[in-house]
């Protein structure tokens, strides 16, 4: 119960940061995804079910506070959480989260997440699809990975 409460508070803080402060860090329209860091962390730490559930709920919350396609962040974050859950290993959580492995997993999940997000987001728009999706996917994933190095250093000092 206490853990869920803590998670809820963290998620709320991250949602607020994502909607307010993070847009200030935008580079050519690309911003890092703090909520994805949390979803991937949950997947690695607790497995696929928690990862996908966290992904869906966090995505839903993100959909609420953005004016974009409702349900799209929930969908893409569910997939990312599920994917991160593949790397769940109870005995190696500390090693996975506190090393470059976390960044690699984060990068992979981010690529899949952004690919799903931008593909659906740009469907039916006048924006030329393929190259834009790839550009946005790669740049947003790289930015998220770069920001993800900060919690990685924090995780390396924690005991799991």
């Amino acid at each position: 119960m206490r853990r869920h409460l803590q998670s809820s508070v963290i998620v709320l803080v991250l949602v607020v940061l994502q909607a307010t402060f993070i847009p200030l860090l935008n580079i050519n329209g690309v911003i890092p995804d703090l909520l994805l860091l949390w979803v991937v962390y949950n997947g690695i730490r607790r497995g696929q079910i928690e990862g996908v559930t966290a992904g869906f709920l966090v995505g839903l919350l993100q959909d609420l506070v953005t004016t974009q396609f409702f349900g799209l962040a929930a969908l893409s974050k569910s997939i990312a959480g599920f994917l991160a859950g593949y790397f769940f290993n109870e005995n190696k959580t500390g090693v996975t989260l506190g090393t470059y492995r976390y960044l690699l997993i984060l990068g992979l999940c981010s690529l899949v997440h952004n690919l799903a997000y931008y593909t659906i987001f740009l469907l039916g728009t006048d924006v030329p699809g393929g190259l834009t999706v790839i550009t946005l996917t790669v740049s947003a994933s790289a930015y998220t990975m770069a920001v993800g190095s900060l919690p990685m250093f924090a995780f390396s000092r924690m005991r799991f």
């Binding site: 307010t20 402060f21 200030l24 580079i27 696929q48 996908v52 396609f69 349900g71």
Partner: protein, 275 residues
Amino acid sequence: MLERLYKLILFFKEYAILAGFLVLSFILMAMNDNVQIKQLRTLATVGVGVLQNQIAFIPRYFRLAEENEILRRMNLQMADEVSRLREAKLQNLRLRQYLEIKEVAGYPVQAANVISKNLTMLRNTLTIDMGSKDGIAETMPVVSPEGLVGMVVAVSDRYAVVNLLLNTDFRVSAKDQRSRVDGIVSSNGKDVYLKDVANSQDVLVGDPIITSNYSNMFPEGIRVGLVTSIESAPGSLLKRIEVTPSVDFVNLEEVFVVLRTPDSERRALESSSRR
């Protein structure tokens, strides 16, 4: 059968949950135009908007260079605009002042813009954008709201040249407004003097000097300037009286030409009496 299905779902429960959430997500996406969803999102958007407003003071570091460039351009445009507005305001003030001048000493006036100036010691002239087509003629006095500017010395159809009070060729009969002492105002190209005033005559520093009725060229009572210094040279019967012109020639932009030519009858009579 149901038990098998249950076991299968339990075995692939992660996939089942993922599939459930994905279906739910698609349903939500299909409900994007739903009124309740819209209202819920409106509330969330308002909440985030309030928070965003609170952190609006934080600069966008990655866009600072771009923003600086935009701000610099805006600054330049606005500075230009402010300059033009200030110019318009000053012109407005001047023109309001000039509107009150319709005639000088009973003579009609013609407003003109100064289009060029030569304030060197040897020349001290200005050119105005009014000429003979506008009724301007040689020897006409030129004034401004502050006082006497000079006299028209050359005219073309659309332009006229004015000899300023500072011009070495310029002379005008003038008097001390307070004591009514007469003299001749002239200049050495730099300073203006009231000449031909005897040492015994009453002239004080600060006295205003105006054109006198002895002049056939200038109407009486036009302000020339103020007495700023008086010296009595040893061995001389006359005072050396320096007058500061009331007109700021450096900043002069608009003038009025008094449409008055010398009285020919008076001129003819004075000429004949001299012979």
